[in-house]
């Protein structure tokens, strides 16, 4: 790994963008401006950014209900994202999907998903398509520790392993499956251990360390492109917000949250980038300012966008 200053700043800015996007979303949701359910990615930024940094244009991603971070890391357009959250015609899904179904096929982004663990077999299929076409494409699936208890996890890892599919399964272990802590929902500490059952390598990384995730993903992606098959990466991290906005979070302690906040992935990356002269305090301020105004523009765009016409209700149920 040798990251250029330019690349480092790009990754850092993406983490900041996710953070600011999500914090604003929380606020807008609290004010009642966003309907439905939203699940925020605050605190987990390093995983999306560290993994997606290695993807090429023709690669695929399957995301989760907590999907905003993945799309931003992939270069998604925050205007269309906010417009979708607001249920506007100009949104990614013309207002038909909302937060849990944002997709951008032009970025190989096969969508957030409202069903926990649903992305795993989908990404086995997308990885199969890459292999079938014989390009060097890879497919990445993000999912949580909770999803690792679903049958989809086991079936997809097994299938990807026997067919040596170019897939990278990234478990964002944020220690909670909704309200159930990991120790109550599985009898293992490391989801990575489960890889052995399917004959693929499984590794655990510090998910709050951008560079740890970056390196792990670099090797896994390399392995997939070389035709050596899938990898399971367990990224140990923590969500700062509840499972969904409005979650009273009665199942964990404030001390635990504060301990994890001390491991803020953005602060950690910033500290090291400053130590090595990649970033100065002024440059950092400028990045946050620029991102904040980009996010404000996105919100304004969404608010000023029209609602979808009622006639569109029956559009796109089928391809013509």
């Amino acid at each position: 790994m040798a990251l250029s200053q330019e690349k480092l700043l790009e990754l850092y800015r993406k983490m900041v963008t996710i953070r600011v996007f999500e914090e604003n979303t929380a606020e807008l949701f609290a004010k009642g401006e966003i309907p439905g359910f939203v699940h925020l990615y605050v605190g987990e930024e390093a995983t999306a950014v560290g993994v997606i940094a290695h993807l090429k244009d023709h690669d695929y991603i399957a995301s989760t209900h907590r999907g905003h971070g993945h799309l931003i890391a992939r270069g998604g357009d925050v205007k269309q994202m906010y417009a979708e959250l607001f249920g506007r015609k100009t949104g990614y899904c013309k207002g038909k999907g909302g937060s849990m179904h944002i997709a951008d096929l032009s970025l190989g982004f096969l969508g957030a998903n409202g069903i926990v663990g649903a992305g795993l077999p989908l990404i086995a299929g997308a990885a199969f398509a890459c292999k079938y076409r014989g390009d060097d494409g890879v497919a990445v699936c993000f999912f949580g520790d909770g999803a690792s208890n679903r049958g989809t996890f086991h079936e997809a890892l097994n299938m990807a392993s026997i067919w040596k599919l170019p897939a990278i399964f990234v478990c964002e272990n944020n220690m909670y499956a909704i309200s159930l802590s990991q120790e109550l929902h599985q009898n293992i500490d490391d989801v990575a251990d489960r890889a052995a059952a399917y004959g693929l390598p499984g590794i655990s990384v510090d998910g709050n360390d951008l560079f740890a995730v970056y390196e792990a993903a670099e090797e896994a992606v390399k392995r997939a492109r070389n035709g050596d098959g899938p990898t399971l990466i367990e990224s140990k991290t923590y969500r700062w917000r509840g499972h969904f906005e409005g979650d009273p979070v009665v199942y964990r302690t404030e001390e635990e949250l504060q301990a994890w906040k001390k491991k803020d992935p953005i602060e950690r990356a910033k500290k090291r980038m400053m130590e090595t002269g990649v970033l100065t305090e002024e440059e950092d301020k400028a990045i946050w300012e620029e991102v904040r105004s980009e996010i404000q523009e996105g919100i304004e765009f969404a608010k000023n966008s029209p609602l979808p016409e009622e006639e569109s209700l029956l559009e796109d149920v089928y391809c013509e």
């Binding site: 695929y60 399957a62 949104g91 990614y92 899904c93 013309k94 207002g95 038909k96 999907g97 179904h101 997709a103 951008d104 096929l105 190989g108 096969l110 969508g111 998903n113 409202g114 069903i115 649903a118 795993l120 077999p121 989908l122 990404i123 086995a124 299929g125 997308a126 990885a127 199969f128 398509a129 890459c130 079938y132 497919a139 049958g151 989809t152 079936e155 997809a156 097994n158 299938m159 026997i162 067919w163 559009e315 796109d316 149920v317 089928y318 391809c319």
Partner: protein, 323 residues
């Protein structure tokens, strides 16, 4: 036109579409070396190789999930679920993923996949290997549901299903696999959503699906001897449903019997009856009769299974009661 079995017709459609379009591939349990549980995919592995004919682990969820992912990524998977009864195992992938992705994504994705599966009782396979669950799928916006009754329809409809950009549930009847009929040579595609009048008649309309089409035709022969002319309509597709052909027939006969092998209660026959009641009430000269299986799981013992499956005699009696 060559004579071939329903099974051979499906096999032919698969071969032709795989030859025509390199993005078509087949996957499922035992579809390769074994040639499919009922032999439908026989010979495909030799013809197209293991890259395009994939034997999967016993993982229905992964079979359909991977088909959805591959379809979203631009391929045209044709997945086989060995028995329709196993579709509960992969239901999320069908009804929350395949069916809804296009709509949820604002029309920005297509899922051009076909899911082939055999339904139907008659082999003494009991409650978990004999069911007809088509109504489940017809209830889900985003899916197309096809149920061919003849070899020719099987070929023509499967060809269209594979070419269709939507997810299509293609339901074969396992008791029809050996049924012979003439099938058009070469490229043959029947548009999805076009019903077929299998026998013309003026007295009573019988709308029947899949195997029941054959029972309805046999019943019509018997009834013709009694001077009752039955028109047998095969919708062929449940979604989209050819309402016009059904209504036109009822307009002619004024009487309707709907027959399917699935459990009567909550079955697709209720939907067809309701459509006719809503759209063609004035055509009706008698109450609509529905025939379907009783509200019980499918029994094993031969005599019980025979009593369970709607019979030719039941159809005859229903028609007589209206004629």
């Amino acid at each position: 036109m060559p004579e071939m079995t329903y099974l051979e017709a499906i096999n032919t459609a698969l071969r032709e579409e795989m030859s025509r379009d390199p993005s078509v591939f087949v996957l499922g349990e035992d579809v390769g070396v074994f040639g499919g549980c009922f032999g439908v995919t026989q010979g495909l592995l030799d013809a197209f190789g293991p890259e395009r004919v994939l034997d999967t682990p016993i993982s229905e969820t992964a079979i359909i999930g991977a088909s959805v992912g591959a379809a979203a990524a631009g391929l045209r998977p044709v997945a086989e679920i060995m028995f329709m009864d196993f579709m509960g195992v992969c239901m999320d992938e069908i009804f929350n993923q395949a069916a809804k992705i296009r709509y949820m994504f604002g029309g920005k994705a297509a899922i051009p996949m076909t899911l082939r599966t055999p339904c139907g009782a008659g082999l003494g396979a009991a409650a978990q290997h004999s069911q007809s669950m088509e109504a489940w799928f017809a209830h889900i916006p985003g899916l197309k549901v096809v149920m061919p009754s003849t070899p020719a329809d099987a070929k023509g409809l499967l060809t269209s299903a594979i070419r269709d950009d939507n997810p299509v549930i293609f339901i074969e009847h396992k008791m029809l696999y050996g049924v012979k009929g003439s099938v058009p040579d070469g490229e043959y595609a029947i548009p999805l959503g076009k019903g077929d009048v299998k026998r013309e008649g003026s007295d009573v309309t019988v709308v029947a699906t899949s195997l029941m089409v054959h029972k309805a035709l046999a019943a019509a022969e018997t009834l013709a001897e009694e001077g009752v002319e039955v028109e047998v309509v095969d919708p062929r597709c449940l979604v989209p449903l050819d309402q016009d052909t059904i209504l036109k027939s009822v307009a002619k006969t004024g009487k309707l019997v709907v027959v399917h092998e699935a459990v009567k209660s909550g079955g697709i026959g209720g939907e067809i009856a309701a459509i006719v009641a809503e759209e063609g009430f004035d055509f009706l000269d008698a109450p609509i009769r529905r025939i379907g299986a009783p509200f019980a799981p499918i029994p094993f013992a031969s005599n019980l299974e025979k009593a369970y499956i709607p019979s030719e005699e039941t159809i005859i009696e229903a028609v007589r009661s209206l004629a």
